[in-house]
Structures are given as structure tokens and as C-alpha cells.
Amino acid sequence: MKEMRFEYKISLAYLLIGGLWILFSDQILFYFTADSTLLTTFQTYKGWFYVLSTALLFYIFLKKHLSKLRSTELELEKHKNHLEELVLDKTRSLDAAISKLSTINEELQEKSTLIEQQNSELQRALQELKETQGQLLHADKMASLGIMTAGIAHEINNPLNYISGGITGLESYLSKEELDNEKIILFIDSIKTGIIRVGSIVSGLNQMSRNVETYDEKCDIHSIIENCLLILNSQIKNRIEIVKNYSELAPVTNGNVGQLYQAFSNILLNACQAIENRGTLTISTELYENNILVKVTDSGCGIPEENLSKITDPFFTTKEPGMGTGLGLSIAYNLIQAHNGKLSFESEVNKGTIVTVQLPVIPQQL
């Protein structure tokens, strides 16, 4: 059963006691006495008694009720304090968790930077490995090529010497006979020209493939370029017009003749191969401060901008599989660098490419 509210209870009790008192107090009084003076006195005491007893009752009821309220209030206060403490506690542990998280975050970030660093180191190592692999492959190729060309050169040079000696003998014999035949002179001259040309090709091949490790040879850049062109003649003949703008002084650099042959022949071969059908190859040399600038300009297909930074990467090639190893320019780049030089490229697709080689020259030249 629902409990009655305190105000109803107290009003009801008051009504009940007051009503009963009014109804029955006089009758009780009349039961004890009939004297009117005494009755009047008792009436007064009865009033006082009623007031006092109701006040007492009020006091008891209110006190009981209020004490209940007060204890509830106290408990509430206690709860409130406890809640505050709880919240504080929770806040503190949350703060601790946050700071822990941020430490973990920092650590993670550190680890992430470390991983990034290691990653870039790995990439560098991979690049170096590729370069070394390319160099090894190239060195191996050049070593076997060197042995082979030296052998071939020796074997060609000897019979060439027979022809040379034979024609010299024939010439002096014919001159003694005074056979002043124009045609004989023409024949002899063409044989001699042939001997000189074969001789210079063999010598060029020999120089190109020689295996000297030192960098103290005097390298005549013009003659190296000329010899490279001679060897590349099959690529050039009837197809590419060669324009030469050489500096007046023949530039000489200290270095390794064989390596410079390889560098220039790779650069020139690439230029020739960039020209699909017919075109022009311009080679200019210019002395600038203590350097020689060699510019090789081709009218070929050009190099797209996105490839320009990659063309000296080992194994990078745009040629069909089997048509190129992608080592040529990478090797040229390394060899020019080994000579304290610089190799740079400018290109425009379908217009052509300019390769610039900068090499230090021996100062007394200037």
C-alpha cells in the first residue's frame, strides 16, 4: 500500500485528535464533576492540556520526519563527495592513460622514422648493388673483350705487316724499273690507304679494350673521339652526317685512355642509335677555364622528361629486350666521374638530345 504523505498524515491526525477531543473531552469532564466553578477551571486546564499534548505530538512527529530527511540529505552529501572523488580518480587515471598513449605514440613515430631511414638505406644499398653488378658485368665483358681484341689485333697486324712490307718492296722495285704507270701508282696507293685504315681500326679497338687500371695516361680527347667514330663507322655510314666543331688546341686530359674510349663510344653509339633513319650528329669541343666541354648533339628521337633522370641508372633501357643492356650510359657516367668530370643531358622529344661531357684538362695547355 502506498504510504501517505507526511502533510496528509499530520493533518489527519490533528483533525482526528482535535475532533475526538472536542467530542469527548467535555463528556469525560462531566463524568467526574458537575460543579460549574470547578468545570470552568478544568475547562481552562483542559485547553492547556490540549495545546501542550498537541505541541508534544507535533514535536515528536516533526522530529521523526525531519531526522529522516536530514539523514537522507547527509547521505546524499556523502554520495556527492564520493562521486566527486570517483570523477577525480577517473580523470587522473584517464590522464595517466593519455600520457602513456602519447609516449607510445612518440615511440611509434620514432620507430617509423627509423624504419623510413632503414628503408632509404636499403634503397641506396640496392642502387649501389645494382651499380656494382653493372660495373662487374661490364668489367667482365671488357676483360674478355680486351683479351679477344688484343688477340685479334695481333693476328690481323701480322698479315697486315706482310701486305705493308710486300707493297713497300713492290713499290721500290717498280720505281727502279721506272714503270711510270699512273694506274700502278693508284693501285699501290689504294693498298696503302687500306693498310692505314685497317691499322687504325685495329689500334682503336685495341686502345678501347685495353685493361689499364691507372689514371695517369695522357688522353687526347680529339683523337679518342675520332677513333670512336672510326669504329662506329658501320652505324654512321650513309645515314648520319657528322659535323665537327673542334677547339683549335687539342685538349689533353690525364686519365685512362681505354676508359675514356669506352665512355665516348657509349655516348656516341647512343646518339647514333637515337637517330632512326637519317640525321645529323654534331660534335663540338670547347676549352673553358681548366676544362674541356664536349657537346654531342643528335637530331634523334629525344628522351622524355620522366626518363631523363633514369638514363644513367644501371640496366635502364628503352630498347627492345636483347637490343641493349642499359649499361652503356651508366658506365659512361661512372667513367667520366672517375675522371673528375661531369656528364649531363638535355633533351626534347622528337628534336634530339645534347650530351655534355666536362673533363678537366692539363692546365699548361691553356
Binding site: E155, N157, N158, N161, I163, S164, G165, I195, G199, N206
Partner: protein, 122 residues
């Protein structure tokens, strides 16, 4: 009397042509290897100029010349080679063991002129 010159080469055709081209001016002696060359040197100590191929059986041109200089004091020595210049040849040039080296195919006129010039010096 014609001055004596010696040519050592393991290719007989080279020897034959050398001799045929120069025998009007000089007494040309030839040998097919260093050993034979040293035998000739021993029996002809008046040889003025010696030409030698580089790569030959038994001993190479420089080794032959080193031996030959022990007998031929004051003679001049040359290397004729089918290869490019090697470190060994360069050292011999630097030390004065040989006067010059010629690559094959060599120009016989050039060689003849050289002999003529150095014979005047001697």
C-alpha cells in the same frame, strides 16, 4: 762493307720482307726466336741495330734484348709489336733499354730512315 742489322720475329714472312726491303743498304741478319737471335749476336758482335718482335716463343722481345745488350754494347734496340704498348715496353723505353717501339703494320720507309739517322750518330 754494309752495316749489320738484326731482326728477330717468329713470323718468317715478316723476316723475309724486312730483309728483302732493306738488304740493299744493310746486311740484314734474321732469327725466328730469341734463342736463335742470341746465337747470331754471339757470332756477330758488330751488329749495330737490333729489331725484335715482342711476343715470341722461349723468350719475349724485351728478355731477348736484355740478354743481347750483354754482348752488344753500344748497339741500338727497337721493339716491333702487333700489340699496343705494354707496361714492360714503357719501362724499357723509360730506362733507355730500347730506343723506340713500332706497332705493326710498320712503315719500312720510316724504319729505314731511323736506321740511317742512328747510324750517323753511332
Amino acid at each position: 762493307m754494309k752495316p749489320k742489322i738484326l731482326y728477330v720475329d717468329d713470323e718468317p714472312i715478316n723476316l723475309m720482307l724486312f730483309e728483302a726491303n732493306l738488304d740493299r743498304k744493310y746486311e740484314v741478319l734474321t732469327a725466328v726466336n730469341g734463342k736463335k737471335g742470341l746465337e747470331i749476336v754471339a757470332s756477330h758482335p758488330d751488329i749495330k741495330v737490333v729489331f725484335s718482335d715482342m711476343k715470341m716463343p722461349y723468350m719475349n722481345g724485351i728478355d731477348f734484348i736484355k740478354e743481347a745488350t750483354k754482348i752488344l754494347k753500344g748497339s741500338l734496340f727497337y721493339i716491333l709489336t702487333g700489340f699496343e704498348i705494354t707496361g714492360e715496353i714503357q719501362d724499357s723505353l723509360d730506362s733507355g733499354l730500347i730506343r723506340k717501339y713500332y706497332g705493326k703494320p710498320f712503315n719500312l720507309h720510316e724504319i729505314s730512315n731511323e736506321i740511317e739517322a742512328v747510324l750517323c750518330e753511332l
